[in-house]
């Protein structure tokens, strides 16, 4: 990243950046978020959950775009609902891809700076655009941008007033791997500078690579919260299935069968299905194995990586194992406070 993020100092007695106390939101008979409590301070927290789990509802509540049906949603100690002045200290990157197609990225970010009341909008916009490395394309209309470039422009617009709290709803949607790495580096810098960064994702690996802490939401409830690695261990300590396409599936299958972490290999029409007992060892060795076998790998994708299946495994089939592995298994209620205290899982 070209421009370092300014450091943010938090007062010792300052309230948590984000606090939810028994927050719920329902639409008629449908409960989108159910009795969720947590507190977040500086650092990166990933809000993880399958599509439709309630992540966006939660983000809309804490950015004041949805009124909680019950409970409290506080940002920097103040209720977020009907409190737009909070956006002086909060930046939001919305999930929806829409941008003003007729504005250039520079105009967009300058406009955001002006709307946030930044004293020198042009200078602030230059800094924010440099932070997301969008200088070269900054004068092109956003309508002609790729998804990833739009995402960077949105992030620059959200950062332009240098907020201590940054909320991002599915920020990596549509970005290519290189852009994803750039955005992750930017967010790490934000967190290292003392900011509170909360981002949502339905992709486990994104959260794994970026978040120090994690909030897992399933069916509107906080299913787990705390240190990511403890929770990830629960998630990885299970058989994984992969689907592979290669130039010679049969030869690759022969090589895979010799691997100690491969439990089963089956040749299907046009693909190879592999079941492994060790996610990390398998993903680390597959590239070497294909190279040594003289096979070209066309596609490798996990076939059971949906969070639904992960949590079905964790809270269903492996309930007892989950309880003992990394965390204290709680009651059916929400977490009791900071996910920084300890990893905690509870049945969704």
């Amino acid at each position: 990243m070209t421009a370092p993020a300014p450091h943010v100092e938090a007062a010792a007695d300052a309230p948590a950046a984000i606090t939810l106390r028994h927050a719920s939101r329902w639409y008629g008979d449908v409960v989108a978020v159910n009795d969720v409590s947590f507190e977040l301070g500086p650092g990166i927290t990933g809000l993880l959950g399958p599509n439709g789990a309630g992540k966006s509802t939660l983000i809309h509540m804490l950015t004041g775009f949805l009124r909680p049906s019950a409970g409290d949603v506080l940002v920097l100690g103040e209720p977020s609902w009907r409190h737009p002045d909070l956006f002086r200290r909060v930046g939001l990157v919305p999930e929806r891809e829409a941008v003003y197609p007729f504005l250039s990225a520079r105009e967009f970010v300058v406009a955001s700076a002006r709307l946030h009341g930044v004293p020198d909008p042009q200078a602030a916009a230059r800094r924010a655009i440099a932070l997301v490395e969008l200088e070269e394309a900054q004068d092109r209309a956003l309508g002609g941008y790729s998804k990833g470039m739009r995402q960077r422009a949105k992030i620059a617009a959200a950062l332009v007033h240098d907020p201590p709290v940054l909320v991002l709803d599915e920020p990596f949607n549509g970005t290519d791997p290189r852009q994803r790495l750039q955005l992750m580096a930017t967010l790490r810098e934000m967190a290292a500078a003392g900011r509170t960064v909360l981002f949502s994702s339905h992709i486990l690996e994104e959260v794994e690579r970026l978040a120090d802490e994690v909030l897992v939401i399933v069916s509107g409830r906080l299913a787990a919260s705390g240190d990511f690695h403890q929770i990830r261990r629960l998630m990885t300590d299970r058989p994984h299935s992969f689907s592979i396409r290669s130039s010679d599936d049969r030869r690759l299958a022969a090589g895979l069968v010799g691997q100690p972490h491969v439990a089963a290999v089956s040749l299907e029409e046009g693909r190879l299905d592999v079941r492994t007992t060790d996610f990390g060892a398998f993903t680390a060795s597959i590239a070497r194995l294909t190279r040594d076998s003289g096979v070209t790998l066309y596609e490798l994708r996990p076939s059971d990586e949906s969070l639904e299946s992960v949590f079905s495994y964790l809270v269903g089939d492996r309930g007892a194992g989950a309880e003992g592995a990394a965390a204290t298994r709680g009651d059916d209620g929400p977490g009791d406070g900071s996910p920084r205290d300890a990893a905690r899982t509870s049945a969704p």
Binding site: H60, T63, F65, L66, R67, R82, P84, D85, L86, F87, R88, V90, L92, P94, R96, E97, A98, V99, Y100, F102, L103, F108, A111, S112, R114, L115, H116, G117, A157, A158
Partner: protein
């Protein structure tokens, strides 16, 4: 801050195909005026009668409400629909300011379209001999009408995603049919307020043009409707919830 909001709104309103279609619509009364000027016979009505009649039937009854409906509902509603409104709402800008800028910008764009059509139509029919001030009267009246219509349509778009349909219902069902059939409902018609203001400002003889509403009452009513609609718009936007619109 205000200028930034207005600039984005104006670019959004003018940058799409709808602007071109509305310009074509605004040329309809001008075309009819040209037809009158060059193709009318000796038995046709006199210019001082034809001009207000044409402006009332085509500009006030059609071009003005349609332009205000399109611009008024698009000024805020289009951004809410396509998701770009979040870039305005996720800022500390007060909601009253956002609604005010939206109403004023939509009204300004509407006036920029309708007023030249009004003046040009009047000029073509009346020539330089507009001794009753019809052109100026209608020009001021469409400005008042544009503000009232836009305030109502911006408020509607903050309230419902079906603002365009609701607005069409108001313009073509209520103002065209209901107020035409039931005289007592004319007090609730922005079209009637517009005509009343035109009557108030111009000095056309009753035989040429006379509004149903008293000019003073029409002006007060138009102002009242604009203020109430604006206040409702601010209230709706302050309580706006993402994904909650009907």
């Amino acid at each position: 801050m205000t200028w930034t909001l207005a600039s984005i709104t104006a670019r959004q309103l003018l940058g799409r195909r709808r602007g071109l279609l509305l310009v074509l619509l605004a040329l309809v009364p001008v075309g009819l005026a040209l037809l009158y000027r060059f193709a009318s016979g000796d038995d046709d009505s006199r210019p001082v009668e034809f001009a207000p009649d044409l402006i009332e039937r085509v500009v006030v009854a059609l071009v003005l409400p349609l332009a205000a409906l399109v611009f008024g509902t698009a000024a805020l509603g289009a951004e809410i629909e396509d998701g770009t409104a979040v870039y305005l709402l996720a800022t500390p800008v007060e909601r009253w300011r956002i609604v005010l800028v939206k109403v004023v910008t939509a009204a300004a764009v509407t006036v920029a379209l309708v007023m030249p059509a009004t003046l040009l139509t009047a000029f073509i029919v009346l020539g330089a001999s507009d001794e009753h001030g019809l052109a100026v009267g209608f020009a001021i009246a469409v400005t008042v009408g544009a503000v009232a219509y836009c305030a109502v349509f911006v408020a509607l778009s903050a309230f419902t995603s079906r603002a365009l349909i609701a607005g069409l219902g108001y313009v073509f069902v209520w103002e065209t049919f209901a107020t035409g059939i039931f005289q007592g409902t004319r007090w609730a018609s922005i079209r009637e307020y517009t005509l009343g203001v035109a009557d108030l400002v111009s000095s056309a003889p009753p035989a040429a043009f006379a509004a149903d509403l008293d000019g003073g009452v029409a002006l007060i009513a138009a102002t009242g409707v604009s203020v109430v609609a604006y206040a409702l718009g601010v209230r709706f936007l302050s309580r706006f919830e993402i994904g909650e619109r009907t």
